[in-house]
Amino acid sequence: MTLILDGVSKQAGAETHIHPTTLTLEKGTMNVLLGPTSAGKTSLMRLMAGLDVPTTGRVIWEGADVTGMRVQDRRVAMVYQQFINYPSMTVYDNIASPLRLMGRSKAEIDHAVKSTAEMMQLSPMLDRKPLELSGGQQQRCALARALVKGAGLVLLDEPLANLDYKLREELRVEIPKIFEESGAIFVYATTEPEEALLLGGNTATLWEGRVTQFGPTPSVYRQPVDSTTARVFSDPPMNFLKVTKSGSVLHFGEGQQAPATDQLSALPDGRYIAGFRPNHLEIGRHTGQAVAFRTTLVVTELTGSETFVHLDHAGERWVGLVQGVHDLSLGAELEVFLDPAHVYVFAEDGALVAPAAYALAA
């Protein structure tokens, strides 16, 4: 059971929704499609499901070419961001409907529906109509209908995006459990890097219709292949600044410098782009090597235990995530610190030339 996308692309008129993409999803894996809105997550998923026919390329499922096959024959399951159920049927009939179409026996259907409903905590609501349920229950009903038929490929298109915070947390914990029980290939689209990290498995980062990187989630996070992937897989996005390397020293523009050690030492001299994640920016000096930057505070956002600081650094907008609540005045000058061990170095065209030292150590 593997799904192979072989040079698949999708064009709608003059617009390219998906650039030629080759992906192999292995049996029993959780695959996260991570990217901002309109990056092509849904388009790619529709190609996997067979709802859209690719402009070029082939879709191969279990060794057979299924490009252009009717959706009805594909044996896939899909859950949308909107809560999609059949409003005229009860929850029981909703869950049972794919099985009835498969021509299963009554007892078999009853057993499957009851056990799936049990797993999704829907047992008390089986006789109700979906629109009488809360949002979370409606989405659980949609999930149950997708899971009950035991499809080999389960596509979840931002299933939690329309739920409120608490329900999202609840279901987010349940999804990996459901996945493990099903043994199917799961594809999960999301805009939130945090969600990708929680789900684990593999992650494909998408940007403007291209898969920029595909691999095990932690390694995509720690060692992004280029600045686009790093930007996508970081919330708020990664901060960048121009640096120059000459000899064994990395210059940060305003006289700050750090020794170019380990991997950096092998790089040829020249201009590079340094990137660092918001949570690595610090307000106080914590290590001796930390480099200091003078910035202007533009906006602060409190989340309770953490503070987002939006900074202006020589015309560039940076975002920092610092622990605790700080009493800072807007427009004031703020000195921030950055440990060189947390700096990724990219070539000027965006390709990663040296991952941060901490990421290699981990």
Binding site: L51, Q72, Y86
Partner: protein
């Protein structure tokens, strides 16, 4: 204790006060209803009077109540066949219109094709011309193909106006159903036909009801085409009513009874779809 009594009396005094004042909105509403209902009341009363009473005296209600007018209509074939004919072509027209409009509206609501927006607007242009324009071509056409004076002739002629209207109404209702429901059904294994009947139709049932109502109403009240295209066998009730001037003059009582009976089917249909009618008037786009 005494406190309680005091408050109670003052409360009743207060409550009595507004009753003395004239309720302005009730008066306006009353006048409006009177204005609306007066012709219908008059028609109903006429239908219960004798011709002598109608012509010779002015009475607000019948002096000698009679049901003979209704009896005439319900026993005389030339009268009651008018109702039967009307109902036959109206029902035929409603069924044809809705059945034809359902797939058309689905296509307009779900697919993009060359010129779809123009075509959709074009549908309405048929309703911009008065039916009289089409009386001549239909009469000539149906006479030459032998459809003249049949129920299906009138039903088809009314389709020219009702199919576009039904498409517009149904398209509005169908647009309100997310496309993801269609796709989920296909993914679940539903064929198009089963999906349409088992899942889609219940979701747009009120739209079908409203579309059917508008088709029914247009066809029921349309006089010119139905009269032009029929002579004896498919003569509608409205045509029968306009041809009742006999040698003995006009039979006022019977005519009024026929009028009352003509209102009944429309009133019944309105009663059943009253909850969806506002959405229907907005062509489903509320």
């Amino acid at each position: 204790m005494s406190d309680a009594t005091v408050t109670q009396t003052s409360f009743t005094a207060k409550a009595r006060k507004p009753r003395m004042r004239v309720n302005g909105s009730a008066v306006v509403m009353g006048c409006y209803l009177l204005f609306l209902l007066l012709p219908i009341y008059w028609l109903l009363m006429m239908s219960l009077k004798t011709n002598t009473e109608i012509l010779n005296t002015f009475t607000l209600w019948p002096d000698n109540l009679t049901f003979n007018n209704y009896l005439t209509i319900l026993t005389d074939a030339s009268w009651y066949m008018g109702y039967v004919n009307s109902l036959i072509y109206v029902v035929m027209n409603t069924v044809i219109s809705v059945v034809v409009a359902l797939p058309a509206a689905y296509a307009f609501s779900r697919y993009h094709f060359l010129g779809d927006k123009h075509l959709f607007f074009w549908l309405l242009t048929n309703r911009m011309a008065p039916p009289a324009v089409f009386a001549l071509p239909f009469f000539q056409l149906y006479s030459s193909v032998g459809l003249f004076d049949t129920h299906i002739a009138v039903a088809l002629a009314h389709c020219l106006f009702n199919v576009p209207l039904a498409v517009w109404i149904l398209e509005g209702f169908m647009r309100g159903v997310p496309k993801e429901i269609d796709e989920t059904a296909y993914i679940d294994g539903y064929s198009f036909g089963r999906f349409f009947i088992k899942i889609f139709m219940p979701l747009i049932a009120s739209g079908v009801g409203v579309a059917a109502f508008f088709c029914f109403m247009f066809s029921w009240v349309e006089l010119l085409l139905s009269r032009t295209l029929t002579s004896v066998d498919a003569k509608p009730i409205a045509a029968t009513m306009t041809r009742t001037v006999g040698a003995s003059g006009i039979d006022w009582g019977v005519l009024a009874a026929a009028g009352v009976l003509t209102i009944v089917p429309g009133a019944l249909v309105i009663y059943f779809v009253r909850n969806y009618i506002a959405k229907g008037f907005a062509l489903g786009r509320v």
